[in-house]
């Protein structure tokens, strides 16, 4: 489930495709081309010197990165981003996994209601619950600040861990637990010695997905962050919406730094999870 193995199929497909297939591939190519344009123009611009009325900048330089690093205080921003994301991952796994275990294994009164309550934060747009939540956090003095950012980011993360872990736990054979119980294991031993090792791949996948989501989460962080608790996305947004004050290229450089952190995370994530798992649990079907 966690790491996918590429299956080698020996069946060869016809090389000559139907017009429909050509149309589909052309659409994919067009989308990817535009995507490359969107990402590439930021990348090229961040290395360029002057770029006004030509295909490419007049010269290339790396100095925008140094400028962006100093101007935006990126060392602080990145370390804040890391602190916040790791805290969110840790807490959401600690809260989410036991809950997912109970939801996967047990039936109890009001179970559907509880499931619905966990689903709501994912279904609601972040701004909808973010504004009342930010108001409450400000009232209790938790925002603006790191505590507020972590708490607000937990709102979609905990349900996310629960929803990804529940099917993962469901597929672990319950008779393993029964056997352990029969051999005299208590709840703690059951979790630490039997379930824990079996759950590691699932927890790792969920944790990485939460990490990617938290680093990329804009709205909730934006609503609760103070000047010293901005994550990379929020800092980027502020520098972009105040355009004209800073050189365009140094904003581009910052955007590239943001993208490369995300890409590093993504590469790590893809070592553990199937791409389709990023959005849904995929059922691996054997090839016909």
């Amino acid at each position: 489930m966690a790491a996918t193995t590429s299956t080698n199929t020996t069946t060869r497909r016809r090389l000559v495709a139907s017009p429909g297939a050509w149309l589909v591939w052309a659409a994919v190519a067009f989308f990817l081309l535009n995507l490359a344009g969107v990402v590439g123009s930021v990348l090229v611009s961040s290395f360029g010197t002057r770029w006004f009325d030509s295909w490419f900048p007049e010269g290339f330089t790396g100095e925008w990165y140094g400028a962006a690093w100093k101007e935006f205080g990126l060392l602080d921003v990145i370390s804040v981003t890391l602190q916040i994301s790791l805290l969110v991952v840790l807490i959401s796994v600690l809260i989410g996994v036991p809950a997912a275990y109970v939801l996967a294994r047990r039936t109890f009164p009001f179970k559907r209601l509880v499931m619905f309550a966990f689903l709501l934060p994912i279904l609601m747009p972040p701004i909808t619950y973010g504004i009342p939540l930010a108001t409450v956090l400000y009232k209790f003095g938790l925002a603006p600040g790191i505590a507020g950012v972590v708490l607000s980011n937990l709102v979609p993360s905990v349900p996310f861990v629960i929803l990804t872990m529940t099917p993962f736990i469901e597929q672990i054979n319950p008779s393993i637990e029964s056997a352990a119980r029969m051999c005299g294991a208590g709840v703690r031993a059951l979790f630490l010695r039997v379930l824990g090792p079996l759950l590691v791949p699932g927890i790792l996948a969920a944790a990485i997905l939460v990490l990617v989501r938290t680093v990329g989460m804009f709205e909730l962080t934006f609503l609760t962050a103070g000047p010293d608790s901005q994550t990379l996305v929020v800092a980027l947004y502020y520098s972009m919406s105040a355009a004209g004050i800073r050189a365009q290229q140094s904003i581009d450089a910052m955007a590239v730094i943001y993208t490369s952190t995300m890409l590093v995370l993504l590469v790590i994530a893809l070592r553990f999870v199937n791409p389709t798992q990023l959005v849904a649990r995929v059922k691996e079907t054997p090839e016909p």
Binding site: A21, L23, A27, L35, G37, V39, S41, V42, S45, F52, L94, I95, P98, A99, R106, T107, F108, P109, A117, F118, L120, P121, M124, P125, I127, T128, Y129, I131, P132, L133, T135, V136, L154, V155, V158, I162, G184, A185, G186, A189, E219, F222, V233, L236, Y237, I251, D252, A255, Y258, M262, L263, L265, P275, T276, L278, V279, A280, V282, K283, P288
Partner: protein, 299 residues
């Protein structure tokens, strides 16, 4: 390691009866998560609901009246729907043929899926910056069109279309991967059985695959719609935040952080949630009429 068996409780009666209904100490594991949802989601939600009915001046409904009587505010509902519905629909409908084409195994599939995941991680802010550079005046797209002789292109960013494109770029890969996973969940033997009975691919798609995929399509539409509906950064960065792309979330943000009218902001947030839930409710109601069996594009 010594392990102590659980001691029998002093009063077995009540505990036994509870355990029979599925309530015992193991449910305590659920407690942190429930507590968490109550404290950080439900409490703020009801606090906001109460706040929206308690404006600084005027009756309990003053914030709602203020929103609906001002066309600059109430127009945001329509603006948001006009952006989110077509974007979500396009993302879902475009994904179906592409995912249908790609559900088998072929060389480079993993690379292609990875390429399609990238926009999900880019996030709205980088996409906005890229769109500004790429589609803006003198950007590559503009120059390319100029090179092949199409001049006088309408403006593509800082208006409705800029936001629409950013919604497609971030939403399409999401919809595609979801639909691809639903499609690969459909038992391929069903389609082969139909083929042996003489159904051509059109019949197989319309009569076998599509009905099984339909619930998955409804779910995908809902999730893509939620993403598009809560559009915020790109509406500011590549849109026209004072006019044609002044979406609901922007109106709520401005009420809270620029006018400091928390009652109005909460009211807008509640209206936003209500509108979204109505759309999702309609889709899910239609979905409940569909077949959601075991071999289906699951639900």
């Amino acid at each position: 390691m010594t392990l102590t068996a659980e001691r029998a409780p002093a009063d077995p009666g009540l505990r036994h009866r509870l355990a029979e209904r599925g309530v015992d100490r193991q449910l305590l594991l659920l407690l942190p998560a429930v507590l968490f949802v109550v404290l950080l989601f439900l409490y703020p939600f009801f606090y906001g609901l109460q706040l929206s009915f308690a404006p600084a001046q005027g009756g309990p409904f003053a914030s709602y009246i203020a929103f609906f009587s001002d066309s600059y505010q109430s127009g945001t509902i329509w603006i948001t729907l006009k952006l989110a519905l077509p974007a979500a629909l396009l993302n879902v409908l475009a994904s179906v043929p592409i995912a249908y084409r790609m559900r088998g195994n072929f060389r480079g599939k993993r690379l292609l899926t990875i390429l399609l995941v990238v926009p999900i991680t880019l996030g709205t802010v980088l996409t906005a910056q890229g769109l500004r550079n790429f589609l803006g005046p003198n950007g590559w797209f503009d120059r390319l069109l100029g090179a092949i002789g199409i001049a006088d292109m309408p403006q593509l960013v800082q208006n409705y279309w800029g936001v629409f494109f950013s919604l497609v770029i971030t939403g399409f890969p999401f919809a595609f991967l979801l639909i691809l996973s639903y499609l690969s969940g459909i038992d391929p033997t069903l389609e082969r059985a139909a083929a042996t009975l003489g159904a051509d691919w059109k019949q197989r798609f319309l009569r076998i695959t599509l009905p099984l995929l339909a619930p998955g399509l409804a779910t995908t539409f809902c999730l893509t719609f939620v993403l598009a509906f809560s559009v915020f950064p790109s509406a500011v960065l590549v849109g026209d935040p004072a006019g044609s792309t002044r979406v609901l979330s922007l109106a709520a943000y401005q009420a809270a952080y620029e006018k400091f009218d928390y009652s109005l902001a909460s009211a807008i947030a509640m209206i936003m949630g209500a509108v979204e839930l109505i759309v999702i409710g309609v889709v899910l109601l239609a979905r409940s009429q569909l077949y959601t069996g075991t071999t289906g594009g699951k639900g």
